[in-house]
């Protein structure tokens, strides 16, 4: 027990340079802002989050339990508009790294309220956004490449656990999505027809995909690849563990470290699949939020080396 606890404690201990968490903060913030800009551009604040008598689809004030937003501030369309403005302001500050932690908390709380106003409009990716923002409540990520660095002084070290928790979150997203794919269409006995069927759904497909009949085997291959990719996510923590303990013996450890399984194979496949989703399906920011979180898979020192290489290549 003591040994297991020591292992668990060590897993979340330690610190590292804040650049990766800063990169994720900026990327996630920009994607989130893009999505909120669409809400504003399409004039959807009232339909999505307004009260029923103002045209709100969720009709949030006619429920057994009215959300706190409307209970505390009144049942008015102005409340929805102000909530949206404050949310946008909080996400802008978060992205700029200005009062990052309180702004992350504010964004989480308001976004959670809006999610409850019209739950149908709140997708899994919104929950993932809130999960990630909530992690940022506990990490001073704005003190590197952020306004907080100017206000409170820059930091060269932050706790390492938030980045590791984001890795775990991504692994859980992929792996649980994989093991839940129990429909026969995902498996050989269902003819690996899943991707073909999904792409025929007119509400999801970006363009008509009836021509895929001509290349049906290709869709079957990609169905299998998608499933394998998601199921293999369970090996990612093992790969990181092997990397952190590379000095120890063991054939499997050596293989994982020799082939850098995650960064050389699994992650590029993930990038490819998400770009494929973005090109073929209308799932909004889903693929972009997922990709914005991918830097978490890299240690800040790896990112620093990559940035140096890029600078040497392009900056002279």
């Amino acid at each position: 027990m003591t040994r297991a606890w020591a292992w668990w404690r060590a897993l979340w201990a330690g610190d590292e340079h804040p650049r990766v968490m800063a990169i994720i903060r900026i990327l996630v913030g920009l994607v989130f802002l893009y999505d909120l800009a669409l809400v504003w551009h399409y004039h959807l604040i009232t339909p999505l989050w307004g009260p029923g008598d103002a045209g709100g689809i969720g009709d949030p004030t006619n429920r057994a339990r009215v959300v706190e937003l409307y209970r505390w501030f009144g049942e008015s369309v102005h409340v929805a508009r102000w909530a949206f403005r404050v949310l946008v302001g909080a996400v802008v500050c978060f992205t700029l790294g200005l009062f990052t932690r309180p702004m992350a908390l504010l964004a989480v709380l308001i976004y959670a309220q809006l999610a409850r106003v019209l739950p149908d409009a709140d997708r899994g990716i919104d929950m993932l956004l809130r999960n990630v923002l909530f992690i940022y409540v506990f990490v001073p990520a704005g003190r590197f490449w952020g306004a907080d660095a100017r206000l409170f002084g820059p930091l060269q070290r932050i706790p390492a656990w938030p980045r590791r928790l984001i890795i775990l979150q991504l692994v859980v997203v992929y792996f649980t999505a994989g093991i839940q794919k129990t429909a026969v269409a995902w498996w050989p006995w269902g003819g690996f027809s899943a991707l073909y069927v999904v792409l025929q759904d007119t509400a999801i497909a970006r363009i008509p995909f009836s021509w895929l009949r001509q290349v049906y085997p290709v869709t079957q291959i990609f169905t299998a690849i998608t499933l394998v990719f998601e199921l293999l996510a369970c090996l990612v923590p093992l790969a990181f563990w092997y990397r952190a303990t590379r000095q120890r013996a063991g054939w499997l450890r050596a293989q994982f470290n020799r082939n850098t399984v995650v960064t050389r194979w699994w992650l590029p496949l993930g990038v490819f699949l998400h770009l494929g989703i973005a090109a073929s399906m209308q799932l909004g920011i889903f693929p972009w939020v997922m990709l914005a979180l991918y830097p978490a898979f890299f240690h800040p020192d790896e990112v620093a080396r990559a940035l140096l290489r890029v600078r040497a290549e392009f900056g002279g």
Partner: protein, 221 residues
């Protein structure tokens, strides 16, 4: 008897304990357990299709079962699962609700061979119905960008099998959008056209539209 002295836990221990609690609660929330059980959902075309396929598959291994028997068995398991899930997560429900955090990651778990196409039509007082919008119809693209926007799609997608709570307000919103854009339109109707997706080898066509669901009509106020 020696008494062990209480040791102030180091920050590493406190952090590890808090993260253990978070990982356990969220890990349980992420477990593929059903959130709710509804026997009627097993009668939807998607479920009947899936159960029929499983029954056929089981038959190949000498297990005789009908889609109804499988539905009854699945319902019992799902009911027990959802009860367990809700009971375990109940103490944390308020925090999860307040923060809007949680774990639910089923992406295309059951590819739907019986999806639906959103159709919006309008007509003048005494005129013919005209198709203004239909998903992926190049000749009916009114408000296309709005209707395919993920949050709006989420609203109507959930009503394609059975009109839910948000369907009527959604239709009213769509009607107001149409009335604002088309001064000549006095009546709007919104509905779903059922679609059956065929895999190659099953039928000559890929998509066959059939039947209408959840039709609602709104008149200009």
């Amino acid at each position: 008897m020696t008494r062990r002295r209480w040791r102030r836990p180091a920050w590493d221990d406190v952090r590890a304990a808090l993260l253990l609690a978070v990982v356990v609660v969220h890990g349980f929330a992420a477990a593929p357990l059903a959130r709710s059980a509804n026997r009627k959902r097993y009668d939807l075309p998607l479920a009947r299709d899936e159960l029929g396929r499983i029954a056929t598959l089981a038959g190949r291994f000498g297990i005789d079962s009908s889609a109804d028997q499988l539905a009854d068995a699945a319902y019992k398991v799902v009911k027990a699962q959802s009860g367990l899930r809700n009971a375990v997560l109940a103490p944390f429900a308020n925090v999860l609700e307040l923060t809007g955090t949680g774990q639910a990651w089923g992406l295309f778990t059951y590819p739907d061979r019986f999806p639906a196409r959103l159709v919006v039509e309008g007509r003048p007082a005494e005129g013919e119905w005209r198709r203004l919008y239909a998903s992926l119809d190049p000749n009916a693209t009114f408000n296309r960008d709005k209707f395919v926007y993920r949050r709006i799609r989420g609203v109507y997608d959930g009503n394609s099998d059975k009109a839910g709570r948000a369907w009527n307000p959604f239709v009213s919103w769509v009607a107001m959008e149409v009335f604002a854009a088309y001064p000549d339109v006095d009546e709007v109707r919104v509905k779903f056209r059922g679609i059956h997706t065929y895999e190659p080898g099953e039928a000559a066509e890929t998509l066959v539209e059939s039947g209408e669901r959840a039709m609602r009509v709104r008149r200009r106020p």
